[in-house]
Amino acid sequence: MLELHNIDMFFGGIAALHDIKFRVDDGSLTGIIGPNGAGKTTIFNIITGVYTPTAGSVIFNGYDITNMKAYQINRLGIARTFQNLRLFARSSVLENVMTAAQNRYVNSYREEIFSGNMTQKISPNLSSWYSFVESCLHLGRWSRIEKTLKFSSMQLLERVGLHDRANQAAGTLPYGMQRRLEIARALALEPKLLLLDEPAAGMNPEEVFELNDLITGIHKDFNLTVLVIEHHMDLIMKICPRIICLNFGAKIAEGTSEEIHNNPEVLEAYLGG
């Protein structure tokens, strides 16, 4: 599903990542761990097109996405959450999800992209959507499509337990709920690959426990491939069958949680460093 080949990333003269390579299999749930500053978020930024790597390539479903723009990569079916929450703070909770959900219409088109050739422009398929004129007058397909959109968005909110907060401004939610809203928003895009950037940050133990269930649940129910960043080992160890460990911008270990747990280099990075 996703392959990173020999990724190097320099900021100025400083190497943030060096020679990173790994594969993520279709349908897997993979964890990325490492101390602060190990380059975990940078990997997500490269996959999602926020940064272009200095060297190396990113292959998604057999296509090179290294130099694509962020919005194009997203349209191929990669969604993410953010370590330092990036909700649309002044829009309502429901609007946040709807904003993402309205972009899912590219899904039908996505299949064409993968079956055909990548050289064609990645642009949304508009035929099934209401036009600008319809949205100005609230006529035609507008009410039916908006209703469906609202309905499916509410379902997602229910899934993450935020349906009774739908009309509140997203920025006013408590921290843990904002994290869950980010997950709902990413799911609304109906991605194939979901990247979760420290989903447990700032949560209390009870919330982390619920989050465990949520992540394993959506992984199964939505038929997703999931990549999770955490620097708390416990969460990852519990839910991820496969784990990649980074330190100082390089991959130092990869394997099952058992293997990682007993790897001397990993222990050194966490305890000795």
């Binding site: 978020t41 930024n45 926020v50 953010f82 370590q83 330092n84 990036r86």
Partner: protein
């Protein structure tokens, strides 16, 4: 208009002199932009404060040129710091959205401009004739250079040189450069950010006042004089927003373009040329000559 080599040289000299005044204003504006990442539209107001302070110190209180100018610089610098304290700081503490700072700065500019309109009136004032030496030097081939041209060029070079020294040699200069890279990290490294920002505004205010005094010598003094800052803003954009060398280069280009247009086409066209230059620059190199790419922290 006829093309002659002497007109060419004459206009180049005039252009550099005008450009140096723009540079003083643009550098102050860029300095603030580089730290806080918002366009401080009140910069034009600071300039007007400087101009009027100098005028009243000279005419009403009869101080000498040196004291009047120093007073003007202080007045402007203090206005800038006061603006920061009363308007910008409370907004920054509440929200990271720079749009609010932008709007507030526009408000401050309107307040300053119109305070002068309602108190001293909108009429044009001129600094006294003897403020600066008025001699004219004849260079080769009929090219002349007025004393005020020389003074404005020299002053600009001195002030920009001092700024450069301050930024590169002193501890606070280093701190300012660090803050321009990343103000949050600078704060975490133990730099007193609140003081640093006030310092930056003070320096920007001083530079604006110097620019304001020269502008009022050149064009006379009126409450809307600050609108000339638009050109300094444009110069800063041409050079690359937030870059100090960019601001200087952009200003000199603008000054030259304006004076060459005035000399060879028509002086009515000079402003139009400035704006066309902005549009052309935005089309071919939108981030300017020295524009830095701003990476969002994710």
């Amino acid at each position: 208009m006829q093309f002659t080599i002497s007109t060419l040289f004459q206009q180049i000299i005039n252009g550099l002199s005008l450009g140096s005044v723009y540079a003083l204003i643009a550098v102050g504006y860029s300095l603030v932009y580089s730290i806080l990442l918002f366009s401080n539209f009140a910069h034009g107001g600071f300039l007007v404060v400087g101009g009027y302070a100098c005028y009243y110190l000279l005419t009403q209180w009869g101080y000498g040129v040196v004291i009047s100018m120093t007073g003007a610089l202080l007045a402007s610098g203090i206005t800038a710091v006061l603006t920061e304290f009363s308007a910008y700081k409370p907004i920054r503490e509440r929200t990271p959205i720079t749009l609010y700072l932008l709007i507030a700065s526009m408000g401050v500019n309107i307040i300053i401009e119109n305070l002068f309109v309602v108190t001293v009136g909108g009429r044009v004032k001129a600094l006294p004739q003897n403020t600066f030496p008025t001699g004219v030097f004849n260079l080769a081939g009929g090219v002349t250079m007025s004393a005020s041209d020389i003074i404005s060029l020299v002053t600009a070079v001195v002030f920009l040189g001092l700024l450069q020294l301050f930024l590169s040699k002193t501890r606070w200069g280093l701190a300012i450069r660090a803050a321009a890279c990343d103000i949050r990290t600078a704060g975490l490294m133990g730099i007193n950010v609140a003081f640093l920002i006030s310092l930056v505004f003070f320096v920007a205010g001083i530079l604006a006042a110097v620019g304001g005094i020269f502008l009022s010598v050149r064009y006379s003094l009126y409450p809307q004089l600050g609108s000339i800052t638009t050109k300094a803003f444009i110069a800063a954009v041409i050079g690359g927003l937030g870059s100090l060398p960019g601001a200087v280069v952009g200003s000199l280009i603008l000054g030259l373009a304006e004076m060459l247009t005035a000399g060879f086409i028509s002086s009515q066209m000079r402003d139009l040329v400035v704006y066309s230059l902005l549009v052309i620059m935005l089309l071919i190199r939108p981030a300017g000559f020295f524009g830095k790419k701003i990476n969002d922290k994710i």
